[in-house]
């Protein structure tokens, strides 16, 4: 491992790139070579160091921690001369060090426990030696020298680790099935096809700590008796793909992958397979079809992949987060792991917290934490002191839960019983301004678009659900629609081939169950209580507050607003397209939505 006296972290946030971050890096590299300092000063790329609009392009030099901002490549020769050669801080560019901002992953908040995310931001993912320094591959060493495959499976069973992809099947059991299945060739697969909109937990793990996943897979391969594995990563994650490929290469060069791993008889190798843009490929049988070079269409189970998987051979498929947990369980023990969580759901879970809470981003919490604690303690409460309305868990196949469910402990069973699912870890908190019918419509738009089309209940059913929801949002809803939504949902759920179709009605069923009032308001009163559905709202100008400033009239794209200067304006309701621009531009709160 090379040692440097200084490390320069350059922000390559998209905004900084636009402002010339790469030119800065090139120039810095040239200048360091010119001054003979290239072996002493290391340049690393990082995410944003401060607000890029204000500070970018910027860099921080360690160990001093000097934050230089608003640089251009012209400034570099002087910066190198002053800072590195003369040892003086160039005050003109040095900003007071503000806290580094990683909008996706901040320092752990109260009630968070970081297990899967523990190394992220701490190590250089492109250097395997950094992972070694954090006990990397120690678990693999322990497994290969001290444990039999059955011991490993027993340890994972004792830890009660369950699949983090969403279904929550006990991982140890899955491994045992694959081990017991007959066949001389067996495969290990990592499902890194993280497709739920807004869920990016796995991406950060793959980009920030790829070796934890690789180590977990090697241990699984040893337990199951496999010599070949694949990581199926979605093509939308190019950085994850390149990080994984590099990590695999480095692991191979250290004898951690390939023939006779760590000098034992055990051999295993890995390959990354890149998806081609199909959400349904996150379903395990569709994923297998895709690796085999076919259309990513699911098939009926059983036979389960553990018996008949890739090319008909026994195959173990786990999610990124599941594998990342494995080395930590082996090192710290099943007892430590199972001390966190509820009776049936052990350990921690990562979530991508989004929506109307103050702190959005990645979080990792122990199972059993209440939804209220996530929304208010970790999430920092609702933005703008608005009222909480619902929390949506489980991605597009999940459900929406109202305030009365906030004290529910988060685990696989309770979320399922409440009408939602754990899913892979998307979590959206919604405030009072959200229309739940519109949310159901939004999710249904997604699922009907992503339905692969193989089975009729899903292909036709999701389309029909969407049509009904669109009708309700447009003000054409009837009483029969409510029954049809319910009945159709039941049919789709029971008769669809795979998890996508079976879960697709969840957003509809859960909103029908918990927010029936809103459906009724749309249907019987032709009213959208949250004032979201355009067809059901009107914009009006209030006599009192309107100063006749003409801003609304000038901004209206269809010239539907008329009125003399300094007199109350009027909206022509027939011409109004309800775009809401007048509402946004009015500075006197004179526009009322009803």
């Amino acid at each position: 491992m090379a040692f440097y006296r200084s490390t320069v972290l350059v922000s390559v946030d998209p905004v900084c790139i636009e402002k010339g971050a790469y030119e800065l890096i090139d120039s810095l590299q040239d200048e360091l070579i010119k001054q003979g300092l290239i072996d002493e000063v290391q340049i690393l790329e990082t995410t944003r160091l401060g607000d890029p609009q204000v500070y970018g392009p910027d860099l921080t030099i360690y160990p001093e921690g000097t934050h230089y901002t608003n640089l251009t490549y012209y400034d570099i020769p002087r910066l190198v001369e002053e800072h590195f050669i003369k040892g003086r801080i160039l005050k003109q560019y040095a900003a007071v060090m503000t806290d580094a901002i990683d909008e996706e992953l901040t320092a752990p908040k109260t009630k968070e426990i970081r297990v899967v995310l523990q190394n992220i931001g701490e190590i250089d993912p492109r250097n395997i030696e950094d992972y070694f320094a954090f006990d990397g591959y120690m678990a693999l060493g322990k497994v290969l020298t001290e444990m039999s495959p059955d011991d490993v499976i027993q340890e994972i069973l004792d830890a009660k680790l369950r699949g983090r992809g969403g279904a929550g099947f006990p991982t140890g059991l899955k491994w045992r099935f694959a081990k017991q299945a007959e066949g001389d060739v067996k495969y290990i697969i990592c499902n890194a096809d993280e497709g739920d909109p807004g869920a990016f937990m796995n991406r950060r793990v793959l980009e920030g700590d790829p070796h934890s996943v690789i180590e977990g897979m090697i241990i699984a391969a040893y337990a199951v008796g496999s010599s070949q594995g694949y990581i199926y990563c979605r093509a939308e994650y190019p950085i994850a793909v390149s990080t994984l490929n590099l990590a695999i290469k480095q692991a191979r060069s250290f004898g951690l992958l390939g023939k006779n791993i760590l000098g034992t008889d055990f051999s295993f190798d890995l390959e990354v397979r890149v998806g081609a843009g199909a959400f349904v490929c996150g379903e395990e049988t569709a994923l297998l079809a895709s690796i085999e070079g076919k259309r990513g269409e699911p098939r009926a189970r059983p036979p389960f992949p553990a018996v008949k998987g890739l090319w008909g051979k026994p195959t173990n498929i786990n999610n990124v987060e599941t594998y990342a947990n494995v080395p930590r369980i082996i090192l710290k023990g099943a007892e430590w792991f199972s001390s966190m969580g509820t009776e049936k759901s052990k350990g921690t879970k990562t979530f991508a917290l989004a929506g109307d809470v103050n702190n959005t981003g990645l979080i990792e919490v122990p199972f059993g934490i209440a939804l209220r604690e996530i929304s208010y303690d970790v999430g920092g409460g609702i933005k703008g002191n608005k009222k909480f309305k619902a929390v949506q868990t489980g991605g597009p196949m999940g459900g929406c839960l109202p305030e009365s469910y906030l004290d529910l402990p988060v685990d696989y069973e309770t979320l399922g019983e409440a009408g939602s699912i754990m899913g892979s870890g998307g979590m959206i908190v919604m405030d009072e301004d959200t229309c739940m019918v519109d949310i159901a419509r939004f999710f249904m738009e997604f699922t009907q678009d992503e339905s692969c089309g193989k089975c009729v209940p899903c292909r036709v059913g999701t389309h029909r659900l969407l049509e009904i929801l669109e009708g309700i949002c447009d003000g054409h809803g009837t009483e029969e629609d409510l029954e049809e939504l319910q009945e159709l949902s039941d049919q789709i759920r029971k008769n669809s081939l795979c998890g996508l179709g079976q879960g697709a009605p969840n957003p509809v069923v859960s909103t029908l169950k918990h927010f029936m009032d809103e459906y009724k308001a749309h249907i019987y009163e032709k009213r959208c209580p949250a004032k979201v559905c355009r067809s059901l709202i009107t914009f009006e100008i209030l006599d009192g507050p309107c100063t006749g400033c003409t801003v609304c009239a000038r901004n209206c794209p269809v010239n539907a607003i008329s009125g003399e200067r300094k007199e109350t304006h009027v909206i022509d309701q027939d011409a109004c397209i309800k775009c809401g621009i007048c509402y946004q531009v009015c500075q006197f709160d004179a526009i009322q939505i009803t």
Binding site: D13, P14, V15, E18, E103, E104, E194, G195, D196, P197, G198, A199, F200, R203, A235, E236, Y237, P238, V274, G275, A276, G277, A278, F279, S290, I291, E292, G293, K294, R295, G296, E297, A352, A354, G355, T360, G361, I428, F442, F446, E450, C452
Partner: protein
């Protein structure tokens, strides 16, 4: 016509090279199709016929795979491909306004290619960078925290 024939021969040579590099088993089909899409912008009828011979697969099989995946295209695409993330997290932080600015600037509907063959506008599923939404991907360059008035500036970088 002669130049067309030369082009065809060149394309066939490139396709053979790609298959040689990646492989000709069934499992190699999707990586091969991805490489062809990257190289030529789309998978032509000619390419499908050639692949059918090289990989011993019926053309209908290749077509059925090529039309299944969003990132594979059987239609010609422009020089630069713009992908706009249409998922909920981008949507709620102003994605809708940015997308209409993008459509106005290009004069294109999603899925269309400009008459001069310079741009193709596509929507994409979640890119997983929800912390910096709204997000635009131009070829492989990602732009985050995009506002409507930045759209023209971003496009002008590809002049």
């Amino acid at each position: 016509m002669v130049s067309d024939q030369i082009k065809e021969t060149e394309q066939l040579e490139d396709i053979r090279e790609i298959v040689e590099k990646i492989g000709s088993t069934r499992a190699d089909l999707i990586p091969v199709l991805q490489e062809i899409t990257n190289k030529f912008g789309y998978i032509s009828q000619l390419a499908i016929k050639e692949l059918s011979d090289l990989m011993s697969l019926p053309t209908k099989e290749i077509l059925s795979v090529a039309t299944f995946y969003r990132m594979l295209s059987t239609q010609p695409r422009g020089e630069h491909i713009i992908q706009f993330c249409e998922s909920a997290p981008c949507h709620v932080v102003g994605g809708r306004e940015v997308f209409s600015a993008l459509q106005d600037a290009l004069g294109l509907e999603p899925g269309q290619t400009s008459a001069d063959n310079k741009w193709t506008l596509l929507t994409t599923s979640c890119l997983g960078v929800c912390g910096i939404g709204p997000v635009i991907l131009v070829d492989t360059d990602m732009y985050g925290n995009v506002t409507s008035d930045q759209v023209k500036n971003i496009l002008s970088r590809y002049d």
